[in-house]
Amino acid sequence: MLVAKDNPRENTVVRGARVVDPVADVDAVLDVRVDDGVIGALGQNLDTNSHRVIDAEGLLLAPAFVDPHVHLRTPGREDEETIASGTAAAAAGGYCAILAMPNTDPVVDSAATLGSLIEAARAEAEIPVGFLAAITKGQSGAELTEMGELAAAGAVGFSDDGVPVAAPGLMRRALQYGAVTGRRLALHCEERTLSRDGQMHEGEVSAELGFTGYPSVAESLMVERDLALAAYERQPLHLLHLSAWESVQALRRARADGVQATAEVTPHHLCLTDEAIRSLDPNLKMNPPLRSVSDRTALIEALEDGTITAIATDHAPHARHEKEVPFEAAPFGVTGLETAFAALYTHLVEPGLVPLKIVLERMSAGPARAYGLDEPRIAVGSAANLVLLDLNASYRITEETFRSRSVNSWLLGDTVKGKVRATIAAGRLAYGS
């Protein structure tokens, strides 16, 4: 269940944009008319019906993005993000829907907590937001949450994101019971006895810098375990933020064997490698860590060939004072909602590593499918979920540009290309004018 505040529905004509919907196989210069929040017509020189007109010549109109992995820090750390600020940031990033992780304080592990979040979202969310609930109570890995009641109360999925479900026996029970709720389990794969104290990818750079290594196998071992359990139980699952070549290999094999597994990858793992850590910038510290060139290459390949079907920001806001410390003292996590498209366009599309249409699909329909949500579509009769992109705009990322309450972006100070001009989410103008 996705909820947002009840803004007025749009009556708009977007005129003259290059309209690209990779799923519907549309790529043409068209006018798009939105009538009362629903796409009413596609075509040349459409009647404006006295609607608002957005002159979009030279711009690109695509299905708006879906972010399956966001930390809204509410409840507990409203100084870092709120539902209002996080959804405003998402709207500015071109998103029409986001899913929030339950590792808050308190953890979203009861219908009461979940209900209060849904109620708050109805009052303040700029775009539709869905909430995942925890797999285990308090995310302590000991006891299952009341998943049936949570699903009925509106949980869009279940995850202990931030920590793994360490015990294989409990993970199996979660897969078994999760099936009766009809909701997807989303798994943070990390074998903590291997990643213990790890600060960055274990490899040549960590050897030189002296940081405790967080080896790839700490992730892939858990990926293999969870895929084995999913195969045995014949249940679907979703793998969060894959970072390692070995994980991709395991996923590809399992999918070929018929396991219903989906996976996501973050813009930072697609754009950067552990070489970047040489700057010692705490805004490059996240879990899982940036990995080697071969890992990055494997992730890009997996994104292209459809082994990985979703791009997720893992938007993780942190207070300024918590990141203005030496790297080892800083918490894991970087923001990403407002920079995801620009990062991917600048680092993947422009250099010719990934076609634009793949990026657009993996940011929109792909993640929606993974959770069984409606896919944003540019077709007559579909709800208007549209993002207007300026591929020629080049600009510098500064703290002032963020709507998020936090500024721990790995792109701070960088010049990027590709700007979101407007976002229509669920038929309502969420960003732009």
């Binding site: 274990e202 040549e204 405790t212 003292a329």
Partner: protein, 331 residues
């Protein structure tokens, strides 16, 4: 009424050049090291005089901030500054008070308010000196940051080797022990390779960092390879690494038996070095530590003059080019 004028771009005073720091061996070139070693040698000669104090840095302020316990590094930095007539201030802080109280950033800003010329910092976390360099105007000298770097230790070790063996180019140095947790090893490997030496690391598998060969050295778990080296550099085996659950090696006893540097494992004439403090009977046999071929006391003496050279180099406007890129990048 005074006329308000906008100063033209070309009339503004030139921006002050970026401060030079000594944070990592990666910050310096081979020429920089040569110059620092030459300065250290000059200073060592001056130390032979009856009155050892030089007026060079009179009126300058050097603040030593130590967030970790240290005997030789803190004392030698303090003495180095005093021998050059600088004013010194030493601040010690235990790890726990840092966690509970003031952040490193705020401490650095506070100290920066005294306009120190140099801040010497030791900190248990990698990158702490870079943070201090970002928020103060002082030249920053890294006296050890976590497992990352200890560049003045590397410099004093190079000085010791050059003085004792007459060369660094082509020298073969075996570094034995816990490389994984050693900032001394990391900066020494880089410094030796910079000067054209050949480096072999020797230790238990779990204490040799995965991928370390990419730095340009060799790695082996076999202690017998130290016989091929001109210098055997023994690292301290830290007892805290033996805590329950760590299991880097089964026991100190087993470590000593397999990797301890004993007279039987050395060739006559091989030089032995150790950054201190030593665990006699663990990584180094007492007979080795006390032998004439051990340069451990020489290293301590070299520590004073090389640290004097670093302070002198940073604060005098000689033909000194210490690159500051790594610091500027994070700024």
């Amino acid at each position: 009424m005074a006329e308000i004028r906008v100063m033209r771009e070309d009339l503004r005073p030139p921006a002050s050049p970026p401060k030079r720091h000594f944070i990592s061996i990666k910050d310096v070139t081979r020429d920089d090291v040569e110059r620092l070693l030459a300065t250290a040698r000059t200073l060592e000669r001056s130390m032979e005089r009856e009155v050892k104090k030089l007026p060079t840095l009179k009126g300058r302020l050097v603040i030593n901030v130590f967030y970790e316990s240290s005997t030789r590094t803190s004392s030698s930095f303090e003495l180095a500054a005093k021998r050059l007539s600088a004013d010194t201030m030493s601040i010690k802080s235990s790890g726990s008070s840092v966690d509970k109280g003031e952040s490193l950033k705020d401490t650095a800003i506070t100290l920066g308010a005294y306009d120190p010329d140099v801040i010497v910092i030791r900190h248990p976390q990698i990158g702490a000196p870079n943070l201090v360099a970002r928020v103060t105007e002082a030249h920053v000298v890294n006296a050890g940051d976590g497992k990352h770097q200890h560049p003045t230790q590397a410099l004093l070790d190079l000085y010791t080797m050059r003085e004792e063996l007459g060369r660094l180019e082509g020298l073969h140095v075996a570094i034995v022990g816990d490389v994984l947790h050693s900032r001394v090893a990391r900066s020494l490997i880089q410094a030796l390779l910079l000067m054209g030496a050949h480096v072999t690391l020797v230790g238990p598998p779990a204490l040799l960092p995965r991928g370390v060969e990419a730095m340009g050295c060799e790695a082996s778990t076999e202690i017998s390879v130290i016989a091929g080296a001109d210098v055997v550099y023994v690292l301290r085996m830290q007892r805290e690494r033996m805590q329950e659950g760590a299991n880097y090696v089964p026991s100190l006893r087993e470590y000593a038996a397999r990797w301890g540097v004993t007279p039987e494992r050395l060739r006559p004439g091989q030089k032995v070095m150790h950054p201190g403090p030593m665990n006699r009977g663990v990584e180094i046999d007492a007979r080795v530590a006390d032998h004439a071929d051990a340069l451990i006391e020489t290293q301590v003496r070299a520590g004073l003059v090389t640290r004097m050279a670093v302070l002198y180099d940073l604060l005098t406007s000689g033909p000194i080019e210490v690159k500051t890129e790594s610091v500027l990048e994070v700024a």
